[in-house]
């Protein structure tokens, strides 16, 4: 295995090429652009046989992806921020039509004020679109998770689209050592696309009107498929380990020094890399601290979370987005997950890193130290006015 220093966007592009989608409709938006640019390099240099559709908007990117996926070919796209927001209407149509499209999101803030830097408001805004959402921390994880995503989406027990979210700039534009697997290894892991249905196969009517008597049935099936994906994601991760000798926790959550941790940091994406350093420092001082990295936000792995935090006295959730008028979206899910749990750790909420605001080692260390002495829940926005 030779590791090459590679930009995370390049690593994603390599993953996409290795998964051999046949059609990629795509529209450029910062900070996603390096992904389609590298894919275009592959295609135009004859290294990757794929139909690129350079559409006139993200709305048409995801709509063309519907036409392509419904025609029975593996389909991929990528976007970010305003682009994801423009797709929003059609995101629901994709999952409702049970099309296993895979999309990378280079997470970025939403306007206004306009801001091109990283936070998670864009994908959190798509929470209830019935797309599986997986968050990644490193370039390697971005590559690996993109490969896993096709397998998860296309599993006939799931048939739902998957969004692989990587932090804009702080990951998408960062160079790291990456192992790019060989084609034959990926082929072994990811079988050829077998569509559940295809427009040019048996004559079909796809996307009909569902009257009230039928509509809820469709939605319930979608919900059940989302719940079924919990196991499918775990299996995809376990199989990945067998073939590639790497994996990420159980595929849903990834613990770090968590077993006996009394104070647990929770985050998604690159922020977890920062937290690892802080945890090592505090462990050296003798503090029982650890991390639960949230990889899957939808489906939300609440059972796995409660089980993994068995020693927790406090849980510190860093959200890089906010549900205005309520709380951080990850934090709210944790409150819900622990409502019926037997253990009752104190849950602390930190809103951090919106629109590219730095989240530093000090922020996380301070949060840990505050949590260690707190006797009631902390709720804080981490920025200087």
């Amino acid at each position: 295995m030779v590791k090459k220093v590679t930009e995370a966007s390049q690593a994603v592009a390599e993953a996409v090429k290795l998964c051999r989608p046949k059609v990629i409709p795509v529209y450029p938006i910062t900070p996603q652009t390096h992904i389609p640019e590298r894919i275009s390099d592959f295609v135009d240099n004859g290294e990757f046989d794929c139909e690129m559709i350079y559409v006139e908007s993200e709305h048409s990117a995801i709509s063309a992806a519907i036409g392509s996926s419904a025609s029975g070919v593996r389909t991929y796209t990528a976007t970010a921020s305003q682009g994801l927001a423009l797709m929003h209407e059609i995101l629901h149509v994709v999952s409702g039509m049970r099309l296993p499209i895979v999309m990378n999101v280079a997470n970025r803030a939403l306007s206004a004020p306009i801001n091109i830097w990283n936070d998670h408001q864009d994908s959190m805004n798509a929470r209830d679109t019935s797309w599986i959402q997986l968050y990644v921390e490193s370039a390697q994880e971005a590559l690996d998770t993109t490969i896993m995503a096709f397998r998860i989406a296309e599993d006939h027990d799931v048939l739902l689209p998957v969004m692989v979210c990587l932090d804009g700039f702080t990951l998408s534009h960062v160079y790291e050592p990456v192992d790019v697997p060989e084609q034959k290894t990926v082929d072994k892991y990811l079988p050829k696309f077998k569509p559940a249905f295809s427009l040019d196969g048996k004559t079909s009517t796809m996307g009909p009107i569902g009257y009230p008597g039928d509509f809820m049935g469709f939605k319930k099936q979608q919900h059940e498929a989302m719940l079924a994906s919990l196991d499918v994601i775990k299996k995809a991760n376990a199989e990945f380990k067998k073939v590639f000798k790497r994996s990420y926790g159980d595929g849903l959550i990834e613990p770090y020094r968590l077993d006996d941790a009394e104070h647990v940091f929770v985050g998604a994406g690159t922020i977890c890399g920062t937290a690892r350093t802080v945890i090592d420092k505090l462990r050296n001082e003798g503090h029982k601290v650890g991390m639960l990295k949230l990889k899957a936000f939808r489906p939300f792995p609440e059972d796995a979370i409660v089980k993994a935090c068995k020693a927790a006295k406090s849980i510190i959730v860093f959200d890089r987005s906010v549900s205005f008028g309520f709380k951080g979206p990850i934090f709210a899910e944790f409150e819900s997950a622990f409502y019926e749990a037997s253990q009752k750790p104190l849950l602390h909420s930190f809103i951090a890193g919106l629109g590219g605001y730095d989240v530093t080692l000090d922020h996380i260390e301070d949060a840990f130290r505050s949590a260690m002495t707190a006797d009631k829940p902390i709720s804080r926005w981490l920025y200087k006015e």
Binding site: K22, V23, P25, C50, E51, I53, Y54, V55, E56, S57, H59, S60, A61, S63, A64, A65, I66, G67, S68, S69, A70, S71, G72, V73, T75, E89, I90, V93, M97, L199, D200, T203, S204, T205, M206, G207, P208, I209, G210, Y211, D214
Partner: protein, 275 residues
């Protein structure tokens, strides 16, 4: 009617990408369907984009030559909300026939004005009021805008099915994007008896309100001219949506129609390559 004529020409190897609209609603009440050809619907404004994806997927599978791909939308889905997606589809040169069934308003949602609604028409959002007598703008010249993309363009009319089908045949044979705008009266929205549908459609042709033409390889051609041009009142007076019109309104519409017609005659004679 419009669909029957398209499929008469296209046959069973036709994939239909349908915009949200009355056609999609009445033809696919799950679990039943009226469609005997592959059919897909995703949303209101994106059938041209969906068709773009179908086109490239079929090409990737090596079966592109086997299929005709048709996108169908109403005038709201084509003139207004889906306009960008159509322009993109045309610019990228997808081999897709886009058919706009033009009934000059948002009929599925209850007769609201669209960019295709003619001047002075009373709709639910441009009602003939005491101060403002219906819609205030003439309709958007979509066929010419489409033609500027280099597509094969034709207008058709449900009252002239053979002309329509000949154009559909030409569009399927054309190696690139094509667009046909079919004039389709809506008895509910236009407020005329259903049995007058074809008569009204014929009057639209005979008054030069809706001329039949093609723009092929950038050259404009009038397909036929009325034997005797009738005054616009003959067409307008038969419809409830124009019943508030006064002499001055008829005169303004007549003037506009005549000026447009003169332009088209000149274009037709010139043989000029427009695009």
């Amino acid at each position: 009617m419009v669909v029957r004529y398209i499929l008469k020409v296209g046959g069973p190897d036709t994939i239909v990408c349908n915009s949200t609209g009355c056609l999609e609603v009445f033809s696919t009440p799950y679990p039943r369907t009226s469609w005997k050809v592959p059919w897909i619907h995703a949303a209101f404004e994106n059938s041209a984009a969906v068709a773009s994806g179908v086109d490239r997927a079929l090409r990737a599978k090596g079966v592109r030559d086997k299929w005709n791909v048709v996108a169908i939308g109403g005038d709201g889905g084509s003139f207004d909300i889906g306009f960008g997606a159509i322009s993109g589809m045309l610019e990228r040169g997808h081999k897709v026939l886009y058919v706009c069934y033009d009934n000059e308003a948002y009929m599925n949602t209850g007769i609201q004005r669209s960019g295709a609604t003619p001047k002075f028409a009373s709709t639910t959002t441009t009602p003939a009021g005491k101060v403002i007598p219906g819609k205030q703008e003439f309709h958007k010249p979509l066929p010419f805008i489409v033609a500027a993309h280099g597509a094969y363009v034709a207008t058709a009319n449900v009252a002239f099915p053979h002309d329509f089908m000949a154009k559909v045949k030409k569009a399927f044979a054309f190696d690139g994007p094509s667009y046909i705008q079919v004039f389709s009266p809506c008895p509910t929205g236009w407020r005329h008896p259903t049995e007058l549908t074809i008569e009204i459609a014929k009057l639209a042709f005979n008054t030069n309100i809706f001329p039949l033409f093609e723009i092929e390889n950038g050259i404009f051609k009038l397909n036929r001219k009325p034997a005797k041009q009738l005054p616009v009142e003959e067409y307008l007076q038969r419809q409830g949506r124009f019943k508030h019109l006064k002499e001055e309104h008829f005169a303004e519409i007549q003037k506009h129609v005549d000026a447009e017609w003169q332009k088209l005659l000149k274009l037709d004679e010139s043989g000029l390559k427009l695009f």
